[in-house]
Symmetry: C2
Subunit: 375 residues, 2 copies
């Protein structure tokens, strides 16, 4: 399913530009027929986010919405959306990328003061105008030449072909030294896997732990691809994980033992509310969780004295996660979350360095070897 | 001066381990002589931070402090510092790196509960125990195999040799595609410049603007090294800039036109209060500033309508910068800062994309060509 979906997503920029042209032409038709120009999008509020059991990810439901120009409440936003579409078509034609902020200034230059700056803040969780276009055209904003915040690093037996800025380079992820290769915003357009020779993908929440494992060449010894999203995974990082899962590589996730760390796993696995409109383009239901778990405290004696006290906000977040039905349907996770509520403790990944720096790798080898996963 | 200083800093790990051994042996000597073990460090409070006009950077003054074990107020911290030194020696011997957090857990494992977690928070601006060691031994924490947060990216005509984790790779910074090479925590130990064939270094505050310039291969067309610190520069990024300046490359900085962007420049140039103890190891007094400046509003007509309103906090920060004597001694900067106070406006780098995405590069070419810098 995901494999099939992916293929439809990697359109060339010409095809995406065509989609924008078609959108505009449909509006012109409406205008010529003395109708209000309009387009269809889908409701993206929580009321239209559903957990799709068959796929195992959060996606939008079927509630549609029509945006029309001749509507006092929508006219201004409608005009702005059309202006955004127009700019994106220009970017695609020029083969040039920019950020949401760059787009904002292009529009401000053309449209003047009449523009809501907050709509175009990178920090904003929802940029409704651009989301409208993504949903309506069934493309990602990265396909519209809009860069998103990039974050995360990768190393391991994988070579990528990167066509970019008129050039093409090969990125050998075994030759990135202490740094690794930074995961870009767009891992689809112009990016191809030349070769992926790994047995699995290990996703490590914290950069510090990634560096530890990179230093001992864990990816070489275990023949895996070593990724850190550096906390919550960026869109590009989630998409890369999805693409690697499409290659039938097991995805194993390793996070802090607290609600925040665990939610990093869940966002990779099922996607998140805010990005439900991207559904299985960026979610990886196949992902499994190797640790750190509350149960590890019993398994590894020394961990008890390296736990730290969970704060009220940590406990509250664990309770919230218990309330997500797609999480609490997993008995193992319910047990783990309840242990947080009971013991009010948490464990950082970093604690596994307590006995010796190399213990992080030993822990992973043991648990991955025995397939001790939560899923 | 800086060149000379650098050479003394790139000690091998054996030499650094010797420094730690000497520290311990001196203490044993004191104990054997029935004296309290002690070591000398320097006061790092603001009262002992001075602006060194001759070098052009912030550094510590001459006020020393002696830490002694037999002192009710110091005994615990003293013991912890010795424990930190002991662990760092072990890390050096093992050739393994960790983070401050990893160090914390190693100590907690050995010492038990009796440890102040906050002292070892990565977020903490001062980790007094480790700073004590850095100052006392005249090394950087990176030399003690302690990784710091890494941030920032580089591309351009430069090849690095990276000896790491038992391997050695060459990083060709012209072949890093859309991502660039991530600047690591430690750019000294095991890192060498194999070749640097650039005319200058351009430091670009924002990653989005860096990506714009990378896409149009600005570094190739202008034969420069293109760095983004991604906001305030990390220790590793500042150190890389310092090392490139040692190679006589001009350092040109390009930031937002507001107090925060400007202070990114100043932190690169003179160093910062908190890191004054590293002085000219991480400051680059030669750095110059190409923009964005308030004066640009007059020069580029379209910018006026792309300015945004400075918030109270922006204006307050500009006032604070005027109060730093090492900044206000520059007439140009005083003028710029006063324009912020008068007009209450600011301009983002991104605004230069208003007329066309390629304008950012055009702006830089023009101003760098004409050497229109503030220094």
């Amino acid at each position: 399913m995901a494999e099939k979906k992916e293929k439809t997503k990697i359109d060339s920029s010409a095809e995406i530009a065509d989609k924008l042209t078609n959108l505009g032409e449909a509006m012109i038709k409406e205008i010529n027929a003395n109708q209000s120009p309009s387009f269809e999008t889908r409701l993206r509020g929580r009321g239209n986010v559903i957990y799709d059991e068959a796929i195992g990810c959060l996606r939008l439901g079927e509630k549609n919405e029509t945006r029309t120009f001749v509507n006092v409440g929508q006219a201004k936003k409608f005009m702005q959306t059309v202006a955004v579409a127009n700019k994106c078509k220009k970017f695609l034609k020029e083969g040039a990328h920019t950020s949401i902020r760059g787009l904002f200034y292009q529009l401000k230059f053309s449209l003047g003061e009449d523009l809501d700056e907050e709509l175009f803040s990178e920090q904003s969780e929802s940029n409704p105008l651009i989301e409208d276009l993504e949903v309506t055209l069934d493309v990602k904003r990265e396909d519209l030449n809009l860069n998103t915040d990039r974050k995360g690093v990768v190393a391991g037996p994988m070579t990528l072909k990167d066509k970019f800025g008129g050039g093409e380079v090969e990125i050998d992820c075994t030759k990135q030294g202490r740094s690794g290769w930074m995961i870009p915003s767009d891992v689809d357009n112009g990016m191809e896997f030349k070769s992926v020779d790994a047995d699995y993908v290990l996703v490590v929440e914290k950069d510090a732990i990634w560096q530890r494992l990179n230093e001992e060449r864990y990816w070489e010894k275990e023949n895996c691809i070593l990724i850190t999203p550096k906390g919550q995974a960026s869109r590009g990082c989630r998409r890369l994980i999805r693409r690697l899962a499409n290659k039938k590589l097991p995805i194993i996730t390793f996070c802090d033992c607290d609600a925040w760390g665990w939610y990093i796993y869940w966002a990779i696995k099922t996607g998140s509310m805010n990005l439900a409109y991207l559904a299985n383009d960026i979610s990886t239901p196949e992902a499994r969780f190797v640790g750190v778990t509350m149960s590890d405290i019993k398994k590894y004696d020394f961990l008890e004295k390296l736990t730290i006290k969970a704060k009220d906000i940590d406990v509250k977040r664990a309770q919230e996660m218990l309330d997500y039905p797609w999480i609490s349907r997993h008995k193992d996770w319910t047990r783990e979350l309840k242990m947080v509520l009971d013991t009010k403790k948490k464990i950082e990944q970093d604690a596994l360095q307590g006995p010796r720096l190399s213990f992080v790798g030993e822990y992973l080898r043991e648990k991955i070897g025995k397939k001790e996963f939560l899923s």
